[in-house]
């Protein structure tokens, strides 16, 4: 276990909300606005942490557990995903499955916390979230399975360092993962993070009843999710040969994440949100890309 892998986790904890700021700045510059400050996500989190929480009488402990479990789940995920060629502290063979299920746990608790409020509005969001994640998960898992098959390694840390981006399978997987990335993080074209009162929104509707520190945790967890899943994609695009000096690949990874945030911002500025019926189609298409990559490597 290296000290550098812990520094990586600290970097993630520190820099994750910055990605939200970069996405928003990109969108603002596309729209010709000044936009909110780059560090707005940090201000929001600090502001929410200083407030008190309000709990409805109809909610039970599940509602209070939701954000906490979600946050701890994403912390575990942060400890699984490697950054810049440094093995993650929790790396073991098969941890890519754990990553998928840890993210599943996080989602599950967000969903049942939303259902716990008894609001039909949040129930709709929960149902959509579950539907889309059910379609996104195969794309994610099959894609990672294809990379695992190419490299012959079942653990994310060595796998991402060993994958070569310039083979057709990995390109397919990266495209599929990019779709999953947008879906899991509730970005356009799947969900519009800016709308708070629209019948088609998914993620934002589920956290409407959370307030104060709980909401701060949710904001922070979603920023960390953006970071963790981004690291998987960036790791595939910029594989780092083991043995190079720690700082260089880590710096590359951070630049890659920033680039990814800019790309997400560009996608959000140039695309409209898809109609609700079209979303499963896009997810199935991503899944079939993954399946295609997997079939290609199976031979």
């Amino acid at each position: 276990m290296q000290i550098t892998s812990f520094i990586n986790i600290l970097l993630g904890l520190l820099l994750a909300p910055l990605l939200l700021g970069i996405i928003n700045k990109t969108k603002a510059s596309f729209a010709g606005r000044t936009g909110q400050p780059l560090l707005q996500a940090y201000y929001d989190i600090i502001k929410q942490l200083q407030k008190g929480a309000v709990y409805s009488k109809t909610t039970s402990w599940i509602f209070r557990a939701g954000p906490v479990v979600g946050f701890s789940a994403i912390l575990v995920a942060l400890a699984i995903v490697p950054m810049g060629g440094v093995a993650a502290p929790l790396a073991f063979s098969g941890d890519l499955l754990l990553l998928a299920y840890i993210l599943g746990t996080m989602r599950f608790f967000t969903v049942i916390a939303a259902l716990d409020t008894g609001s039909s509005f949040e129930g709709m969001g929960a149902s959509r979230e579950v539907l889309y994640s059910a379609l996104a998960e195969p794309a994610f898992l099959i894609g990672l399975a294809a990379v695992a098959r190419v490299t012959g390694i079942m653990s994310l840390s060595p796998m991402l360092s060993a994958a070569h981006f310039f083979s057709p399978e990995v390109v397919l997987v990266v495209v599929a993962l990019m779709v999953v990335y947008l879906c899991e993080n509730a970005r356009i074209p799947f969900d519009d993070p800016n709308t708070h009162l629209e019948l088609t929104m998914i993620h934002e509707v589920m956290v409407l009843d959370h307030s104060g520190p709980d909401f701060a945790l949710i904001l922070y967890s979603s920023a960390l999710k953006l970071w963790v899943l981004g690291l998987v994609i960036v790791g595939l695009i910029f594989p780092t040969p083991p043995g190079s000096f720690w700082l260089v690949p880590v710096f590359t990874a951070i630049c890659g994440l920033i680039l990814l945030a800019v790309i997400v911002g560009i996608i959000e500025s140039t695309m409209a949100r898809l109609r609700l019926i079209r979303i499963p189609q896009l997810l199935v298409a991503a899944g079939s890309l993954s399946a295609f990559a997997f079939i290609l490597v199976l031979r």
Binding site: P168, Q281, V284, A285, S288, A291, F292, I295, R299
Partner: protein
């Protein structure tokens, strides 16, 4: 691993998948046009070492006819008919894409059984990709109502046959020429639809409703 032929074959299969999942006719036509250009290029890449004038002509013909003439004719057809979307396909888009993956699997299995290109040439993807394209074309003909989409299905199917033929070009040039003949046939087919538009009695392209015409 990264031979240009292989990348072209992957692009071919991906365009098949896109055709199965998209409903906008104009986009579908553009993808078919892309497929045609890809196959034109494929003819040159395959026989890169021994380019003959005959081969260049075949490739150029494929490139021009499939890449530009067909799309032009089909787009004119759309403009005249005023249909932009496939309305209600017999088989939905999600199911179609899943069927596409299944067809790819079957084609890979079939390709592995055919001893045609098994001799370690690195072109193991050619037969599966050709078969997938063939199946996709057949599938579109069956699964879509719109006459234009069915015509696209026919061109795609022909693309599959052409891919298959182009790899036998050294042994059997006749096969490729048959492919070109089929091309011409498709052109006639396309023109037939255009004519069907011109003296159309209906204001739609739903081929399913042509059944009503039976006595």
């Amino acid at each position: 691993m990264d031979s240009p032929i292989e990348i072209m074959m992957i692009l071919l299969v991906l365009s098949d998948m896109a055709l199965l999942g998209l409903s906008r006719l104009r986009t579908c036509i553009s993808i078919v046009s892309f497929q045609g250009m890809l196959l034109g290029g494929l003819a040159l890449v395959t026989q890169f070492g021994s380019l003959t004038p005959r081969l260049i002509m075949i490739a150029a013909a494929s490139f021009v006819i499939k890449g530009f003439v067909f799309p032009y004719l089909l787009k004119r057809g759309i403009r005249e008919a005023g249909t932009l979307h496939e309305s209600e396909p017999f088989i939905g888009y999600i199911t179609s894409v899943l069927a596409g993956v299944a067809m790819l699997g079957i084609s890979l299995w079939l390709g592995a059984r055919l001893p045609l290109f098994a001799a370690g040439s690195g072109n193991y993807l050619v037969v599966p990709a050709a078969l997938t394209t063939l199946f996709t074309g057949l599938f579109l003909i069956i699964a879509r109502r719109n006459a234009l989409n069915q015509c696209l299905g026919y061109i795609i199917m022909e693309n599959g046959i052409y891919t298959f033929g182009i790899f036998s070009v050294v042994e059997i040039p006749l096969l490729v020429e048959l492919g070109i003949l089929l091309d011409v046939f498709v052109a006639v087919f396309v023109m037939g639809i255009a004519i069907y538009h011109i003296n159309r009695e209906f204001d739609h392209l739903d081929s399913h409703r042509l059944n009503v015409l039976k006595g």
